[in-house]
Symmetry: C2
Subunit: 359 residues, 2 copies
């Protein structure tokens, strides 16, 4: 039996309206719609305008579509860094962003925190062109507080600031004026099938990419910022994109807007609170991130030690699929996505089941 509730942090449980939207898409011929048609432009605009409203993205910030958030790591380094980026590394994904800068022959620097920890005082080295922040470390369930993310702007006004929000969107109430670029993919909080990344950039990013280009530095080809931008202002994409995914994103964002960003945030807070509360008093599954300041609301990681496999089997028997721990924590931790598609009732069932588990 396939468990009916999927808590893996991505690709995650689909947003509950996705299947109906895809059925409608087939009725409307969306899967073979030309990406150079007026209809595609309307859909693309609906997706970007919807995201602007849902996430409260100010004007002067532009939205581009890519193949994945992984691609955006690469495009950020290519387009926004001549030599030196600086990375806050506290898990596998923030580390990968750092490594990609090296693979692109830049000279990245980093500050590292232990898995499960956040950062206190961070000194950004001089010469840093871009500060790479990971809002939510999907591997460990550490979330960097908004005040902390926002504070870099005033302290380091010359550096560009890029924020990986892959596994937190659409939850965080970002002050975008403190960031230059934010990015995510659609298979986590938005609950879509994988295969689309969304890249938000401001005018400073465009200027930086053009500056690098003017110096003769290659910033890529079809997915360079100037190429993406020239197409995005016409609600188009340079290449044939994942049209079906852009369509479904537009529709899911409309669904979320009807529900309301505040409602989604409030429910996310409630679900996270009851799960952390349950874990605090659990004898077999404890919060991996002990400092509440850094506990992610959207990916909750539990230390389950020797009970990991038994708790997994137990939850599956109740119709729930937990996410494995990441990498070397696969046998000792479980991860629970808390995304907009997960209902309060599903979380109550999860918490009750964890409480009922007696080894």
């Amino acid at each position: 039996m396939t468990p009916s509730i999927n808590f893996t942090p991505g690709p995650s449980q689909l947003y509950f309206t996705v299947e109906a939207h895809i059925r409608q898409a087939f009725k409307d011929g969306i899967p073979s719609l030309s990406h150079r048609s007026k209809n595609f432009e309307i859909i693309s605009k609906e997706a970007t305008n919807g995201l602007r409203e849902l996430l409260n993205i100010p004007s002067g910030y532009h939205l581009y579509f890519t193949g994945s958030a992984n691609e955006i790591w690469e495009r950020i380094i290519q387009n926004l860094v001549e030599e030196q980026s600086f990375h806050l590394v506290n898990g596998a994904f923030s580390k990968r962003f750092y490594e990609i800068a090296g693979l692109l022959n830049k000279a990245p620097k980093k500050i590292e925190a232990e898995n499960g920890k956040g950062f206190a005082d961070v000194q950004v080295p001089s010469g840093t062109e871009l500060i790479a922040l990971t809002h939510n470390e999907t591997s460990t369930g550490v979330s960097l507080p908004l005040d902390f993310l926002h504070h870099f702007r005033d302290k380091y006004p010359d550096a560009l600031i890029a924020v990986d929000a892959v596994s937190s969107m659409p939850y965080p109430d970002f002050d975008y004026s403190k960031f230059d670029s934010v990015f995510f993919s659609v298979q986590k909080g938005f609950g879509l099938p994988a295969g689309l990344g969304v890249w938000i950039v401001n005018e400073r990013c465009i200027a930086k990419a053009e500056h690098l280009l003017s110096k003769g530095i290659s910033i890529g080809s079809y997915h360079s910022i100037p190429s993406l931008h020239a197409h995005a202002i016409k609600n188009q994409t340079p290449e044939t994109p994942n049209v079906l995914s852009i369509y479904v994103l537009a529709k899911v964002v409309q669904d979320m807007l009807r529900r309301g960003t505040q409602t989604i945030r409030r429910e996310t807070d409630y679900k996270a609170a009851i799960l952390y509360h349950g874990l605090e008093s659990n004898n077999f599954a404890r919060p991996f991130v002990s400092d509440q300041t850094f506990q992610s609301k959207t990916v909750v990681v539990a230390d389950c030690g020797d009970h990991t496999m038994k708790i997994t089997d137990y939850l599956i028997s109740k119709g729930m699929q937990p996410g494995d721990g990441y990498g070397s924590a696969k046998k000792s931790q479980l991860r629970f996505a808390n995304f907009p598609t997960h209902s309060k009732e599903q979380f109550e069932l999860l918490v009750d089941s964890l409480t009922a588990y007696q080894g």
Copy 2:
């Protein structure tokens, strides 16, 4: 009314089994399947092994998944060219491949043929590391004959040979031993929704990418050949890929295998023959590619001059959507995709309707 038969060359009419496969995918939880799961590896293997069989790809050639064929243009230049590629340019897409090499700061060279024409004797400049061939120029309906494509290997054994087969696959009966890399996307001949590219490379490509890397040249990050390869041998991908598309590809390839590659080729030949035959005797729509040697079997382009819009309306009234001419030919040409999803009956209706059109 949406015309029921879509002849646009891409995104094209869906393969007729796609919708059923997507419905099944939802039943089986494929859209939220982890790309690190055993089940994903099985699906990925089914897709690549199926393609191997369908396209008769020999061992020693590896298949990688990317976001688009556009991406593969970039990855080929990044991974396989230190300085100089050589491009046969005879339309918008072969030209774009050439331009991408320049954007990546290489020094590409080219030979250009007029739109609608092929090439006679081609002298490849010395120092060429990679010869870029476009089997089927989607913009103009020019196809380079197999003998011509195959002849470069003996004449220039030191150069890598890359073949863009975006709008011809799965039709051509390539001798892969004459090529080092072949690539395509899924939204044309395979009739899938857009959002996935397939990149075939051999051991020489792997060696070249590793050679560039050893010289300190950046060959990209997550989608470098070594990174793609390390994952592909485990039937995985570096990033979270378009899992749903890989699943549907696996299924459509199985459908095509049951039909048989020879049957698909024979039917493609038949459909192309009756359309070209009809155009030869048509007073309003004539084959744009006059030399039969270069007439594409999979994208047939018709010069319709002042009748372009009227013929479009006429065909739409009969339930058929022709493809617009490409770029500046939008108002004077029509393009007709001849893909495996298009039935003989649909082509007979198209030819009869074009014949019945009287201005």
